[in-house]
């Protein structure tokens, strides 16, 4: 099972690198020029540089925090003159990072929350009562039991998630 999942990520990444033409990147900088994250924290995130690092030194890049700073806005994806699917490539590289055991703190906590309650954000009883007071239907601390069960079954097959509990 583990190999199968792993091979999907690797295969998709390879497909992305070849099919999505990562090797045709000539470092023009359009992605960085369009990136909202690079605009405000250029010292911490530069998509052009990150893309080059993924291509040239994948194993070292997997451990970088920079990989997790893409805000997934698709601006670079839209404008890249070579049609490189930057957003997808970052996503697939994250898959490999997780497989290698690199778990960034906050995303991991959010995923744990999803496994627990079916949502990324917690709804405490107090929050639920607030909803009621404002005229909204109550939604409970977790999603429906059926949904939770289904989430568990699907994610059980992913060793990554099982490891996180």
């Amino acid at each position: 099972m583990k190999t199968e999942i792993t091979s999907i990520s690797k295969e998709l990444l390879q497909k992305s690198i070849d099919a999505e033409k990562l090797r045709y990147c000539y470092g023009c900088g359009t992605c960085t020029a369009s990136c909202p994250v690079a605009k405000v924290i250029p010292e911490s995130f530069n998509p052009r540089g990150l893309l080059q690092k993924i291509f040239f030194d994948l194993s070292k890049t997997l451990a970088e925090d920079e990989l997790w700073l893409c805000a997934w806005c698709y601006s670079c994806y839209e404008r890249c003159p070579q049609g490189i699917k930057t957003t997808e490539i970052f996503l697939l590289t994250r898959n490999l990072a997780v497989e290698k055991g690199y778990f960034p703190k906050q995303p991991t906590n959010l995923v744990k929350q999803i496994l627990k309650s079916g949502r990324t954000l917690e709804v405490t009883p107090a929050r639920d009562r607030k909803r009621e007071a404002l005229g909204l239907p109550k939604i409970g601390e977790t999603v429906s039991e059926k949904a939770l069960r289904e989430i568990k079954i699907i994610t059980e097959k992913s060793p990554t998630w099982r490891v996180r509990g």
Binding site: C28, T30, C31, A38, R48, S75, R79, P81, Q82
Partner: protein, 446 residues
């Protein structure tokens, strides 16, 4: 249908630099040449450009000066028959015996009588869109094709002219001092017989409004480099002054952006147009020379300045003239709605800084594409085109100017990205091939 009796030796399709050069060389050898051109005058792209060599004080194979004398020579050469305003409708036959059907659309003005006084263009009441005149954007239904066109004889736009639409106007004819206007001019279909054909269809410009984030056609002060060339020309709409289209003021800062639409898999033009780095440098330099206090920026991805003397010229442009080169393809341009200034977002990839630059005007260097007519010609002849629409040679090393059909040759941009002097050089080569082919045929050897 008019069938021509004398068999011409060669038909040259395309009356630009390459076409003219090939025609002259063949005509000088005594061959009868038909030069077919779709526009109302010959000269091709070059007469759309401005002459700047003298102002730059460097020997550059730029535009008008070398070519105008050739255009005039072409016109007066006894062995060259020029068909302008002409469209190829079909080609049949084979090497030694091609039959080319040409539709010659009427100009409605008798070239021999016209003195180019311009009275007709002043009186004409109809204004039409002039894609070629970004500043005014309008011309009359009867108009001179281009300031540098030869012959300087107007042409009537039949679709918009009131006389043809409703029979209600003959103002131009009334004021013409030599009665040169003839509304009864008709389409002519001419059958040309040729032993050989030279294709010299040249290039067309990529429409940069396809790169939407740069706002061409949306933002008034974003123009193409061709628009700039016209503006700097003395014969142009502003008499040589560079102005912003929004308020006609002279810009204090100009940014050039290279590779717009070229080297891009996204636009399916993933080739380099070859000449833009140099012509952008030339125009950037020209801006600086005309008005040294202008801030001039050039956004580039790479700098391709091969050629004799080009690196030196480029160094002069960047170092002595002070044009600021920034390595980074801009992500997008925002127009300030109040001032119509342009704010460019870019990464300076060499310093890794993400910045914005406010300029008065942006000039785009668009991809130069093979002419769309190539497809039609390829179909008529059964020729092969490559995936970008350039004519293919059977072998780029041993038979570069041949095509996959015997008796048909190519030269100039229609073969692949080329500069002006290279196109002329290739034209000589193609003319040489034609001469060789025809001579061998005469000697009974093929």
């Amino acid at each position: 249908m008019i069938r021509l009796e004398k068999v011409s030796s060669v038909t040259v399709i395309g009356g630009g630099v390459a076409g003219i050069q090939a025609a002259l060389e063949l005509a000088n050898l005594g061959m009868l040449v038909y030069l077919v051109e779709e526009n109302p005058s010959i000269g091709g792209r070059i007469i759309e450009l401005n002459c700047s060599s003298c102002r730059l004080e460097v020997p550059m194979d730029c535009s008008i000066c070398p070519v105008i004398p050739k255009i005039v020579e072409c016109y007066h050469h006894p062995n060259i028959k020029i068909l302008t305003n002409a469209e190829i409708m079909g080609i049949s036959g084979s090497a030694g015996n091609f039959q080319i059907n040409v539709l010659k659309k009427p100009r409605f003005i008798n070239e021999d009588k016209c003195t180019a006084c311009g009275a007709c263009t002043e009186k004409c009441p109809v204004e039409i869109f002039d894609a070629f005149n970004m500043v005014k954007g309008r011309k009359k239904a009867i108009h001179f094709p281009l300031p540098q066109a030869f012959p300087q004889v107007p042409v009537i736009d039949r679709e918009n002219c009131l006389h043809f639409r409703s029979g209600t106007c003959e103002k131009c004819s009334e004021v013409c001092p030599t009665t040169a206007i003839n509304f009864n001019d008709e389409d002519m279909i001419i059958g040309v017989k040729s032993e050989a054909i030279i294709l010299a269809t040249g290039l067309s410009l990529f429409d940069p409004s396809g790169i939407r984030e740069y706002g061409y056609k949306r933002y008034k002060n974003v123009i193409t480099i061709l628009d700039l060339e016209q503006m700097t020309s003395i014969h142009g709409p502003t008499g040589g002054k560079i102005v912003r289209i929004s308020d006609k003021k002279e810009p204090k800062s100009i940014a050039f952006i290279q590779c717009v639409g070229s080297r891009s898999r996204r636009t399916n033009n993933n080739f380099c147009s070859g000449v833009c780095c140099m012509y952008t440098a030339k125009d950037a330099a020209l801006v600086k020379i005309l008005k040294p206090e202008t801030e001039v920026y050039v956004f580039y991805i790479d700098l391709r300045v091969f050629g004799k003397g080009y690196q030196e010229l480029f160094n002069k442009v960047r170092n002595s003239l002070g044009v600021k080169y920034i390595r980074g393809r801009p992500g997008g341009i925002w127009e300030d709605p109040k001032t119509r200034d342009l704010i460019i977002s870019f990464e300076n990839t060499l310093t890794q800084r993400v910045e914005k630059l406010r300029v008065d005007m942006v000039v785009l260097s668009p991809a130069l594409l093979p002419h769309p007519n190539n497809r039609k010609l390829a179909e008529f002849l059964g020729l092969e085109l490559d995936e970008h629409g350039f004519f293919k040679s059977p072998n780029p090393v041993s038979q570069p100017f041949d095509t996959t059909i015997k008796g048909v040759f190519t030269c100039g941009y229609c073969r692949g990205p080329r500069g002006i002097s290279e196109s002329a050089t290739q034209a000589s080569a193609a003319a040489g091939r034609v001469t060789e082919t025809i001579t061998l045929a005469k000697m009974g050897r093929n």
